[in-house]
Amino acid sequence: MLAILLKDLRIELRTKETLAALLLLGLLILVVLSFAFDPMSPLREAAAPGVLWVAVVFAGTLGMNRSLLRERDNDCLQGLLLAPVDRGAIFLAKALANFLFMAAAQVVLVPLFVFFFNLPLVTTVTRLAPVVLLGLLGFAAVGTMFAAVSLRTRAREVMLPLLMLPLAAPLIIAGIQASTALLAGAPLAAVAHWLNLLAAFDAVFLVVGWLAFEYVVEE
Amino acid sequence: MNESAHLEYLIAAYAVVWLGVLIYVTGLARRSSALEREVAELRELLAKRPR
């Protein structure tokens, strides 16, 4: 399982495709959303966490499609399926790889977000870190599984957000609500219930992915 | 509370429900009867052309 993860990291370091896609898309969405708010209005401050999460969610969705494409040329997916490893492990490796790519993208995107909304850099990053990371894990889990599902349909790009985002509603709501509270200075304990929800979401979809991947890839 | 204005909403709500169910049922009925006819035709064709 680790071998698959390391392989994905090696390919990514060499081609940097997914990382570049995630970064640029995130930046693009941040900018476009900033147009939605008149720079002077107080509304801008209140909407900040929402903007960040929308950028994370949509950049992640579009980036997720790329992750399984790597297995398509030369039919490498069959190479993996032939390995003496059960199919759930392949899912976990791909999900972790996606999680790491998205986390890496956030290392650049969150400071940019802070820059656009002139928030205090250090406090924002330290406060948001737990929520964003928990959120990204769940997002990678549900995203990887449904990327594999949508690969097998005719309208791949459209299918992934349609399948994934409604299911990820609790993750998005919890992420935004927790981030808003944290940015407003609430202690971590005050958002514990949101974090528990995120953790539960991660656990549920990592397990569902592990079990269902066998059926997703079979002919 | 202006009583009369709300009656249309009440009627509208129940009308929507009945309309929805009705549209679905007619669609389903039409599809089923078309399928039944097709089954009959195909059976006939099969019978006429014994293997």
């Binding site: 680790l2 392989k7 090696r10 060499r14 030369n74 490498c76 069959q78 399926l81 390995a83 003496p84 | -």
Partner: protein
């Protein structure tokens, strides 16, 4: 074909059927390939050859019946069964952005081979890939990619080799080399199930042939190198009668 008492059959299919909705790809096929035996898989296009190979490789779950690899039931011991087999098809299963060595090292780790690096090195030399070992697979010619794929197949010394039209798209020299390597592996005891249209080459390796007709087992018998012509017309005729 009773399983020899000494070693379990390299591959055993018991009443295997595979349906895609209404289309029946395989219909109640039962056959066994003993350890170290080389079998030619024949049949017109769409007769079920690829489906049979994919079921044998545990890539496809049969709708009915069981597939056993080295005595292990593929449905319950999938992972362990896969350790014993390898597949060489049209596609190389190699990552274009990684070099030949990186690809092979990845597969060595995937198959958890302790002496992975050593095996990769010996295979690179044996297949004459030294010159191209560190260039991304994307840059290699079709013939070279096929040789890398062959290296990948031999990495974990499988007891069963499943080959789906391995010779298509190869030039003459590449074909000869593939044939000699397969001969070596076969002599060292690996069972081979090969589906190919190049009967001449196939017959140099295999002493037995199985023919699929419309997803059913049409014929299963021993063959000699000279039978290419006879097999050719049987394929066209599709009738099941004894060869010489």
């Amino acid at each position: 074909m009773p399983t020899t008492a000494r070693a379990p059959a390299a591959l055993e299919l018991q009443q295997v059927s595979k349906r895609y909705g209404r289309v029946v790809a395989l219909d109640d096929v039962s056959c066994a390939v003993a350890a170290g035996e080389a079998v030619l898989l024949l049949g017109a296009n769409g007769a079920g050859k690829t489906t049979l190979l994919r079921c044998a490789a545990t890539l496809l779950r049969p709708s009915r019946g069981t597939v056993r690899i080295g005595g292990l039931d593929a449905a319950t011991h999938g992972a362990a069964a896969r350790r014993r087999l390898a597949v060489l098809g049209h596609e190389s299963f190699l990552y274009p952005d990684l070099s030949a060595v990186e690809n092979l090292t990845f597969y060595a780790r995937l198959y958890r081979l302790r002496d992975g690096a050593a095996r990769v090195a010996t295979l690179i030399d044996r297949l004459g890939l030294q010159g191209w070992a560190h260039r991304p697979v994307r840059a290699l010619s079709r013939g070279l990619q096929q040789r890398c794929a062959l290296a990948r197949v031999l990495l974990h010394e499988p007891a069963l080799l499943l080959l789906d039209e391995p010779f298509t798209g190869l030039d003459v020299t590449a074909r000869e080399q593939l044939c000699t390597v397969l001969g070596e592996v076969h002599r060292r005891g690996a069972a081979i199930v090969m589906s190919t249209h190049e009967l001449a080459i196939g017959l140099t390796l295999c002493r037995r042939a199985i023919m699929l007709v419309g997803g059913r087992l049409g014929w299963d018998g021993s063959v000699a190198p000279g039978d290419a012509a006879a097999l050719e017309d049987r394929l066209r005729g599709g009738r099941a009668q004894a060869v010489a």
